[in-house]
Amino acid sequence: MTINHFPDTQSKVWLDSLAVELRLLDVSGASIGDAVASVREFLADSGSDAELSFGSPQHYAASLQLPVRAKARATLNGVVVRSVLGVVGLMGLTQSVVPLVHGNNVGIMPGVLVIVLGVIAVVTLLPRLLPTMTRLRRRGWTMVIVVGGILGGTVPVVLSLGAGSRALVTIPALPLALISALLLLGPALWSQRHHSFMDDPIVEPGSGTTEDHSRLMVAVTNWIMVIGAVIVCVLSLLLDQVVS
């Protein structure tokens, strides 16, 4: 008896979600490929619906209790360190972009320092938020707009509240912008290099690799800080033009 290996669209979405859930649990690519192919085989044989037969992808992935990769904890700590560097770079770049255009120095206000420390605190919680963010990937553009809106809206408001305060320190805009850009791009490039599409790919049992959407998601999250910085810089420059 031959098996139909081409599941319907609904089952394909379910199988993609299962791959993402197992990736979030730090299961190896080979084990993910095996688990996905097993479900595909059962669905093809039984003709049943994935959700009815296996429940939610999140619950099923957890119920398999597959072994996790050995370097999972170190990877998580690396993400936190790179994210903190990225945040410092993002804040430095957004603070220096307008003074750079006008040829002024950057005054680091107390409000800015408070924001940087606050954002760093949030970023250290990022690995815990990442699964939720990944599960909301189908609303990716909504997330980008919301995050961009929060950064582009809240930061200028908080900064304006401390506008009357004296600057703690004054720094030339160009070096600050260059160092910030380095801090921003460095972690993104490092992550891209070390977490490429060839890094532990999902392997179809008995053959080569499969198309892996979960790795694409990882690639997108690598660059989310850079995307955020570009949005905030553009908004800051537009705001500056409106004000002047």
Binding site: A37, F42, F54
Partner: protein
């Protein structure tokens, strides 16, 4: 023929032993296992119940899996009992016999006492 809807707790307790027993004659794949259990009177066993159990048995070394090639894909994953799995099956089978015997004796004792009291 009507199929008895067994308590899910009972199914969960007996499923592992029955899966090992189904694999005793020789290797088979997921859906064939589920079908054999359904024909045996357990009702429809969902993939979400069966595969985590098979994964656990594989990690315990009681069964081993092998992908057999099919047309246009990886084919089917066949599960086979290992020597350790056969030992486990014998052990669990003996324990299950003893347990069901205990339950049966316990019930009969009270049935007998109830019969004596009413007569």
């Amino acid at each position: 023929m009507s199929v008895t809807a067994w308590s899910s707790d009972w199914i969960r307790a007996a499923l592992g032993l029955c899966v090992l027993r189904t694999l005793e004659p020789g290797p088979t794949y997921g859906y064939a296992l589920a079908s054999a259990l359904e024909v045996g009177g357990f009702g429809a066993i969902k993939g979400g119940t069966l595969y985590p159990l098979l994964t656990r048995f594989e990690l315990a070394g009681w069964i081993e899996a092998e992908w057999r090639p099919g047309t246009g894909g990886p084919g089917r994953k066949y599960f086979a009992l290992t020597e350790l799995g056969r030992q486990e099956l014998d052990e669990q089978s003996a324990q299950w016999q003893a347990f069901t015997g205990t339950v049966q004796n316990y019930q009969q004792r009270y049935e007998t006492e109830k019969g004596s009291a009413t007569s």
